[in-house]
């Protein structure tokens, strides 16, 4: 759970600022528009009032044809810089007097226009009737500039701008304070969630998240955490229980196994003595009574002797097997290459004049019990030699390779092979896939191999095809 790219704080502040600024600008625009409109109305009203006063003052001047006096009355306008021009027209609409006294042509109309007011470009123009006692005497024309309106607009804009700027500052401060109130519980919740997911610490709680929806969320979150914590505790408890039980069972099993081994050792050991007696006495009997026996009797004696010797070999092997399970391991560095070479030399002597091609790959030095590993190699190589016997040109390869942190040694032959369906039975005690009349052996060799390799912490397996050879593997941890 990584930190979010845009924080909820910034979003909140942005939203509030946008809203308030927009509203302020809208209000400001409405204010300016309203002010300008009402100020225009005010300007018109003021100009009309002024025109009415001037008109009332200039009635006699018009009635009694006194343009000088009319000019003087109009000249009073010079105190107001906004007044551009003024004109009086007599009853017949002819120009009677002007302000300023001499106006440039085009400043005032040559004849009176319609009564009323209108905006002309940057000017405001008013025409008012001049009358005394209801008697129309002429028309007054007044022209004022709108600089005041421009100034007003400028001031309004400035006021609105300042107000907006000031409000933005206030709104920012306010929204910062507000967003903290809104965002803090969410941030706390997010923080707790992040810590929980990063450290798997289910004892954390997001309490104190306020009384709104976030508070409800935090409450639900805390409840979930409690539940998870409870379950976590239960699972741990169960695991501990389970481990304890496994340990207890393992100890029981180990005890039983030891007992069994001790039993089989003593049985094997005790079986040897009577067997030696049988063998010894059969030999004595053959010496003593052999010449007096007929051919059949002598053959029976020979069979008993052979069987006794086979049984002796069998018991010897069993003793070795049981010793392998009991004896202490002495781990040292073992040069597998030298050991293999040694074993091969021994086997070559046994092989007589058979044609066997030995291929030894590059073998490393490993940690292990030398005599035990020697037994493994002897068993595997002797098996390979034995089961490749029927082949005219036997080939036996020994290789080693590293894989997944362990060393895998393989012994391959091109002998009779085996049915892969039964490969799982190969490493059991007394398990044989071929009859003893075909290949001699006690059926304990591979069981010994498995026992030794597993005591070294490795595994054993094999694959093969009938009449195409077999490969036996064992692994040793590095």
């Amino acid at each position: 759970m990584k930190a979010p790219r845009t924080t909820i704080r910034r979003k909140l502040v942005t939203a509030m600022m946008l809203t308030s600024t927009t509203v302020l600008l809208l209000v400001g625009a409405v204010f300016v528009a309203h002010d300008v409109v009402s100020f225009r109305r005010l300007l018109v009203q003021a100009l009309i009032t002024r025109a009415n006063i001037l008109a009332a003052n200039s009635t006699a001047a018009l009635a009694f044809r006194n343009p000088e006096d009319a000019g003087q009355i109009l000249a009073a306008l010079k105190t107001d810089p906004r007044m551009i021009a003024a004109a009086l027209y007599d009853q017949k609409g002819r120009l009677f007097a002007t302000y300023p006294a001499s106006v440039p042509p085009g400043t005032v109309p040559p004849a009176s226009g319609p009564i009323g007011h209108r905006f002309e470009k940057s000017d405001l123009v008013v025409s008012q009737p001049v009358a005394e006692e209801g008697q129309s005497l002429g028309t007054l024309y007044l022209k004022s500039d709108l600089k005041e309106l421009d100034d007003r607009l400028r001031v309004d804009a400035m006021v609105v701008l300042l107000a907006v700027l000031g409000s933005i500052v206030v709104a920012f401060a306010f929204s910062t304070w507000l967003q903290r109130r809104i965002a803090q519980p969410i941030l706390t919740l997010a923080n707790v969630a992040r810590n929980v997911s990063e450290h798997k610490d289910y004892s954390l709680r997001a309490k104190g998240a306020g009384d709104d929806e976030v508070g409800v969320l935090a409450g639900a979150f805390d409840e979930m955490l409690s539940e998870i914590q409870q379950r976590d505790k239960e699972i741990r408890q169960l695991n501990v229980d389970l481990e304890r039980r496994v340990n207890a069972r393992t100890a029981e099993l180990e005890g039983a196994n030891k007992e069994l081994e001790a039993f089989s050792y003593s049985v094997s050991h005790d079986l040897r003595a009577p067997l030696r007696h049988i063998d010894g006495f059969v030999e004595l009997l053959a010496k003593h009574a052999g010449p007096s026996l007929d051919e059949k009797g002598r053959r029976h004696l020979a069979t008993i002797s052979t069987a006794a010797q086979r049984m002796g070999a069998l018991i010897d092997d069993l003793l070795v097997f049981s010793r392998m399970g009991r004896s202490e391991m002495r781990k040292t560095s073992v040069d597998l290459a030298a050991l293999t070479e040694e074993v091969v030399q021994e086997l070559k002597a046994d092989a007589g004049n058979r044609c066997v091609e030995w291929k030894l790959g590059k073998l490393p030095t490993v940690q292990g019990d030398p005599s035990m590993l020697r037994l493994v190699l002897v068993n595997l190589l002797a098996n390979a030699l034995k089961y490749s016997g029927p082949k005219e040109a036997a080939r036996i390869e020994v290789e080693a390779q590293s894989q997944n942190g362990e060393l895998i040694v393989s012994v391959r032959d091109n002998g009779v092979g085996f049915d892969p369906t039964y490969s799982h039975k190969l490493f059991g005690v007394f398990q044989r896939l071929h009859g003893s009349d075909e290949f001699e052996g006690t059926g304990i060799g591979l069981a010994n191999v498995r026992r030794i390799v597993s005591r070294h912490g490795g595994r054993t397996w094999a694959d093969g095809t009938i009449n195409e050879g077999a490969t036996f593997y064992f692994s040793l941890p590095k």
Binding site: A63, F64, R65, E132, E133, G134, Q135
Partner: protein
């Protein structure tokens, strides 16, 4: 046909005036009386009469001419269809001051110059605005006199006389006028 009879001396007078002052064109004189007629009409707006002078709405507002009429048709034309404060305007011509009681404005023709003081005395304290263009008309207790100065028609007002007649003259009119007679109005 008394009007026609009256007209002949006016024409004669005009002719003599043209001949006497060659710089002033004859049209200028008719123009002068057109202007005076217009002024006479406007007096009605700038002077206030006491209520008793025109008690009823139906009473016409009368502008009278005493003596020979120098206006010709111009006064009648100006006044035609006009009203003053709801009263119809009426122009009447008189030969004798005794007939002029119903007037609000009375023009005393130059033809009456010799009898002017007499006439004015007769009209004393009546609510009649006396107007004339005789020399020093206002100084001689006429209320408003026409004066020509700088080739312009000006007014001379005798405030004491106006006050005695119970008339209130608008300050606007006074602004256009020269005040003559006693400086302070005497009650």
């Amino acid at each position: 046909m008394p009007v026609l009879v009256l007209r002949i001396p006016i024409l004669a007078l005009l002719l003599t005036l043209i001949l006497a002052t060659p710089s002033v064109a004859g049209t200028k004189l008719t123009h002068e009386y057109d202007l005076k007629a217009a002024f006479m009409f406007h007096f009605a707006q700038f002077v206030e009469w006491p209520r008793e002078a025109l008690p009823e709405k139906t009473t016409p507002f009368t502008i009278g001419i005493l003596g020979e009429d120098p206006f010709g048709k111009s006064l009648d034309e100006i006044v035609a269809n006009e009203e003053v404060d709801g009263h119809k305007l009426l122009v009447r011509r008189f030969q004798h001051v005794n007939q002029t009681d119903s007037c609000q404005i009375l023009f005393i023709s130059p033809s009456e110059g010799s009898r002017l003081d007499q006439i004015l005395t007769h009209l004393n304290r009546r609510s009649i605005l006396t107007v004339g263009d005789t020399k020093d008309f206002a100084l001689r207790s006429g209320i408003i006199g026409f004066v020509i100065s700088d080739k312009r028609l000006r007014l001379a007002v005798n405030l004491a006389a106006a006050n005695a007649a119970g008339l209130t003259i608008s300050s606007k009119l006074l602004r256009q006028s020269q005040i003559v007679g006693p400086a302070r109005v005497q009650e």
